[in-house]
Amino acid sequence: MTGLGWGLRNLGRHPLRTALALAGIAVAAAMLLDMVMLSGGIEKSFSELLLARGYHIRITPKGTFPFDTEAAIPRATGLVRALRAEPGVRAAGAVLGTSVYGRTADSLVTLVGYGVQPEAQGLYLVTAGADLGPGDTLGVLLSEPAARLLHAGVGDTVALAGRLDPQMAQASTDRRLAVRGVVRWIYDSRGQPSVGTVLPVMQRLDGRAAADPASLLLVKATDDRSVATLAAHLRERFPELAVNSVADLVVEAKRRLVYFTQLSYVLGGMSLVVAVLLVGTLLTITVNERLGEIATLRAIGVGRGTIVRQVLAEGAALTVVGGGAGILLGLVTAEYLDAILTSFPGLPQAFSFFVPRANTLAVAAAVLLLTGSLAGLYPAWLASKAPIAATLRAEAT
């Protein structure tokens, strides 16, 4: 009979009480797990999102971050050519983000428009149909929400309008484009209707073709390890632009979302305290009920060390069982909470606040097991110090 097996059997003496304590520990463990997932999840999810298409560096107008403002980089096509010629650059592409209008039977609907260079794009994944060709000025890509809004699918034709003339209330530019594919725009928020064309077409719809603008430039390095060096080099080469590696952007995102991390630490700490109190209370009650039994064990020669290990094993057993259930509960609640948080306007749909990772689970489990076992220290000390003769006398009367 091992200490853990013995401990489990002891806990089974009062099934309802143990079940209630386990439920409490499971809730505390679920909260701890969610908070651990939250503290590192934003960083991981953001980093994964930015690297989804393997582009390591973003170049934007000075003082802005990608799509932060409507500021644009002029002469984008030439800049991309220059970037592609730089050593250490495997690929580079320009993106213009703007507003366009789609014509339906009786009205105009507002859409987010992306101008892309399909041969070097880091914004979308084709889910149906085909991608645009590099010089495909007659094609368009739609997001699922845009396809629904425009009642269009692959092979259909849609009419897009550019900036509206405020006096005439008419579009300055109108284009009929064939739907080449339906795509998932990586940075779109939930339900966002977006369309994409090759860069020159979107620049014309935007009414600024002459300036050849882009909201940002994407750069893929030849080697993952040389990204920082390449970013530093590009900063020197293009001092009028803001050059940020994904690592830089993650740091910035962490800075902006620091309250999430702080919140997760505070709530995670509180859940640990709750778990410790639950385990400690239950074990103290159990030990007090079993003082006679413990005194008997000491009388027949069972050492204090064995008694301490036994009580700690019961704490560990409670923590293992409650924590196991808590991990499952934590994963379920994380998914639910994630769905709520990611439905906030402006957040990319693919973004996650709660990211389950093996090391996250391991850290939560280890911290919980350690604190759960430590919670048994006081009742274990109480058990080991029980006066043998006095307890046996009290038991006999």
Partner: protein, 231 residues
Amino acid sequence: MSPPLLVARELRKDYPMNGETVHALRGVSLSVQAGEYVAIAGPSGSGKSTLLQLTGGIDTPSGGSVELLGTRLESLGDRELTRLRLTRLGFVFQRFHLLPVLTARENVELPMAEAGVTAPRRRERARELLEYVGLRHREGHRATQLSGGEMQRVAIARALANRPAILLADEPTGELDAATGREILDLFRRLNRDGTTLLVVTHDERLAAEAGRIVHMLDGRIVAQDGSGPV
């Protein structure tokens, strides 16, 4: 004559109670030879159980000394005293005190596990002992599934697990009916016949009558003894 297995000299035990001092033992001396069967008899509150606890090293005397197999218990630290109780003494209690979550065999194995006996060896020994007390067929039953007499027999088997030099029993028939108590008397008689030294506290006249020597206590003192052994 070989030296005594257990020697208690001028044992005193005082307890504070409600601001006063209770003199549970008032200078008790007792000697037990190997192979003896000694009963300590007396009315409730006469100090019988206290004497047993002091000789068994589970309580410390206010004065006097206890020597077991040539070792003075007062000279031992908690760890050594615990080890001595584990390996050289066997205890049987009035209320059995088996662990209810363990089976009969696991209860018997417990002191051997603590003493570091390997699992196969202690399993074999536990089965031997359960066979000896007539409960081999109940080895897989939890303590709570056993009758009072069966629990006490398992407790006796547990006390014998590490082959103790002496078995100390405190009112072993106190919780049993007459018929079941008789089974325990028979078992003790058989144990003593097979070489086990017994020191039994009892107010059960039948059990005391089985002993080779009866030590009578009253008010914390030995007042008389019947039989051949030395006081």
